[in-house]
């Protein structure tokens, strides 16, 4: 769910860049120096997963996005984490692009942060694996749906004629969102059972850097 290089006109690209800069700045303020390895490792893991994991869907397959998971694990630090991951994807694999880096960071990052506020605490307090699984499904579905809305919005803002792309991708996205939800659910359920500490980032998730 990337906006490809060249698609966004200057106004949309600039607005995206500004919003992304604000979010990343908040994320950097929230992230303490000693939490950098953690944010980086989660970012790397998600980057690798979105690159190499292919979830079978009919005769084809889809790559996971995992921004809901990133949000639940990293809070505001998901913003800089996605900036880095998306920059590397543009550089190494030509997904997205350099002028659309801001828009794409907003598209991926803000839904992640929303998921942090909506689900992180509930997952931490969930007692059973099943509950965590369901919350994970909800996080995956919410994040990707929000991302779709932001993506569609920036496409339509970029040109009314581009709305056709949104229309055509609506149905495939329904399937993608469903699979992303199930996949995120299993990951969150796994973490809740095996390593509940994953959801306890007492400092990294605050917007204020002081404890």
């Amino acid at each position: 769910m990337h906006i490809t290089e060249g698609v966004a006109p200057a106004s949309v690209a600039a607005a995206g860049a500004l919003l992304a800069a604000g979010g990343v700045a908040l994320g950097l303020r929230a992230m303490k120096d000693e939490q950098i390895p953690r944010a980086a490792l989660v970012a790397s893991a998600i980057f690798v997963a979105s690159l190499v994991i292919r979830l079978p869907l009919g005769p084809s397959s889809v790559h996971p996005v995992l921004n809901g998971l990133a949000g639940v694990l990293l809070g505001w630090a998901a913003m800089p984490a996605f900036l880095v991951a998306l920059f590397l994807q543009a550089l190494l694999f030509q997904f997205g692009g350099i002028t659309t880096l801001g828009i794409n960071t907003v598209t991926m990052g803000f839904p992640a942060v929303a998921c942090y506020y909506l689900f992180s605490r509930r997952i931490r307090e969930s007692k059973k694996g099943r509950e965590a699984f369901l919350l994970g499904v909800a996080a995956g579905v919410t994040a990707l749906t929000l991302s779709f809305v932001l993506w569609a919005g920036s496409l339509i803002l970029s040109g009314k004629q581009l709305a056709i792309i949104v229309k055509l991708s609506l149905l495939p996205h329904l399937a993608i969102v469903t699979i992303e939800g199930i996949f995120t659910g299993f990951i969150v359920g796994f973490l809740a059972r095996v390593y509940p500490k994953a959801f306890e980032m007492p400092h990294i998730i605050k917007t204020r850097s002081d404890p």
């Binding site: 694996g129 359920g189 796994f190 059972r193 095996v194 390593y195």
Partner: protein
């Protein structure tokens, strides 16, 4: 399958990671029913490579691999092999990936298409074989090194393989777990290839021993 036939017959197999120094060169190896072969050799000599080639995780540059009476070359050929030849990886952390012991052991049987009941039975049997009854709901990530090794072995045994490929099954274990693995291997009926640096251990669990050196296999006496 013909009981007298070879379980495994490798002829003239070579493998190289890159164009330079080959890891294995023109290797021949035959394993018959009930045979237990030990494999020694320096680190990086190609022992693990050989095991991975047998289950098709690595493909040889040259030579023929015949397993369970059929020549195997394509990925699809190895699907059946992997259901009947059990590979125990060197590092149990590479093998265990499910939250609980039970789920991890059930993974293989489920891939074989067993139903719920059969899978549950396979899990129970495998756990009792390795003497780990009651570990069903333990979190694999929290187990000790020795426990992880035994559970990995159980994940392999649960698939009821005809051949076992064991990559350093006793390495890095405390004396108690070490002895447990040794007596367990002695009690298993399967043909097996056991890789180890511990010659004494190999002498006690295998019927013959081979050394991997300069890309070749040589029969040795231990």
């Amino acid at each position: 399958m013909n009981e007298k036939g070879n379980l495994l017959d490798i002829q003239g197999v070579s493998f190289r990671h890159t164009a330079q120094q080959p890891v294995l060169e023109d290797v021949n190896l035959t394993i018959r029913h009930g045979e237990r072969v030990g494999l020694v050799g320096a680190i990086g000599s190609g022992k693990t490579t050989l095991l991975h080639m047998i289950v098709g995780l690595l493909k040889p540059n040259q030579g023929q691999v015949e397993i369970l009476g059929q020549t195997r070359s394509s990925e699809r050929d190895f699907w059946e092999v992997r259901e009947r030849v059990g590979l125990l990886f060197q590092d149990p952390d590479d093998q265990l990936f499910c939250p609980t012991v039970q789920e991890d052991i059930a993974f293989g049987p489920l891939n074989q298409g067993k139903n719920r009941e059969q899978t549950e039975r396979a899990v129970r049997n495998a756990l009792s074989l390795v003497g780990m009854e009651g570990y069903e709901d333990r979190i694999t990530h929290h187990l000790s090194g020795g426990e992880k090794r035994l559970v990995s072995l159980a994940t392999v045994l649960a698939m009821e393989p005809d051949v076992l490929l064991l990559d350093e099954p006793e390495n890095g274990l405390d004396p108690v777990s070490h002895e447990r693995i040794r007596s367990l291997l002695l009690s298993l009926p399967q043909a097996m290839i056991v890789v180890s640096h511990n010659v004494e251990f190999l002498a006690s669990v295998t019927t013959r021993c081979l050394r991997v050196e300069d890309g070749k296999l040589k029969e040795i006496v231990v």
